[in-house]
Assembly symmetry: C2
């Protein structure tokens, strides 16, 4: 299969989110021993429909062999390549608080290719620890140097809301192009940089919507 | 405006997510003193396009007055009603670990109408504290009684992955209909119950995608 981005067409964000979900479903299908799947198999697993899957895949060019289905392993490789996670991304965590430690306590980011290579923290007592789970801890003043030395591409902001804006600017100034913001603070990034906000309430609102409309 | 769910039509999940975003943008527009907005105003603020907004709103019936725009306050009320967050939802947090404390440390859930009314924890030493930030702490054995007494509708699972399935079953058995799962554990819920998984890696994958395709 040729699974490449068809240029010039803007791919909807919802399609990108679904690609991530398909990849997770394929992982489970593979674990359960499946080697070839149809779009119906994936649809059933992901709770969507085959037409949606084919439409999403169509953004990236050619399809699997008609009548045969998709080879799980190849399809997963193609999706990972399309998402840009066929490689590893060096990330920095900013803020060693409860949320930061929660993120460090899970291997689900690393499993998806996002490696936290450095932690930045403004509390000097924490910084003095030197490292946490073998990940080096730095003060905020070291950001410029460390981002460049470690090849940090993505910054994860898990500080208190009032410090988020300053941290975002420091990350951008240091050359970080992607930012995941866990605070409710509205952050604007310059053209060429990418920002995503994590907002747990949005998922709760999805639940509230479904519970209200039943 | 009549902003009600048009029955029988399945509303896409992406539309629901966008409604949550529109609501946040309207909040900011209102704070900046705007009383009437066009779909272009909302689109600019949210980074989408007016046609998408009108399409999303169309799922819920009638529109604002043509040529005049939307009254921010009314539109927000209508969106909140559509999402089912024109009321408050009693939630229970299960797991008083780093992530749990991070969730308790932010007011962004409460601001959106999701009130954590009880915390369940299996560590008896923590449970003995009795409460945290005035929210009562209970052992797992108290779940059935507390869910019913407190009118808990939504359970937030922030335990270790190996305990997530058991916790989900206990919540469902106790009568909880909505579950927000922060663990990577795959949970299946019976018909009538609603589950959403929080997966931070999906947002990172969205960033990786954009950074790869630039």
């Amino acid at each position: 299969m040729v699974f490449k981005k068809v240029s010039r067409i803007k791919i909807p964000e919802a399609t990108i989110r679904r690609l991530s979900l398909y990849d997770r479903c394929l992982e489970e299908l593979q674990r359960s021993g499946k080697r070839i799947v149809s779009s119906s198999d994936i649809a059933r697993k992901c709770g969507t429909n085959p037409a949606q899957i084919r439409k999403d895949f169509a953004y990236f060019g050619e399809f699997g062999v008609r009548g045969v289905g998709y080879y799980v392993e190849n399809l997963q490789k193609d999706i990972k390549r399309a998402l840009g996670i066929d490689r590893s991304w060096n990330c920095a965590l900013v803020g060693a608080g409860n949320l930061g430690f929660a993120l460090l306590g899970t291997d689900s980011l690393a499993k998806r290719g996002f490696k936290i290579s450095a932690i930045f923290e403004r509390d000097p007592i924490l910084v003095e620890m030197g490292s946490f789970q073998d990940i080096p801890l730095f003060g905020m003043d070291d950001m410029q140097r460390v981002v460049s030395e470690f090849g940090i591409k993505i910054g994860i902001i898990a500080v208190s809301p009032e410090n988020a804006l300053k941290v975002a600017h420091s990350l951008i100034d240091a050359g970080v192009k992607g930012i995941l913001n866990f605070t409710p603070t509205t952050i604007k990034v310059p053209p060429g940089a990418i920002l995503k906000n994590v907002d747990f309430a949005i998922d709760l609102e999805g639940i509230a919507f479904q519970m209200s409309s039943d």
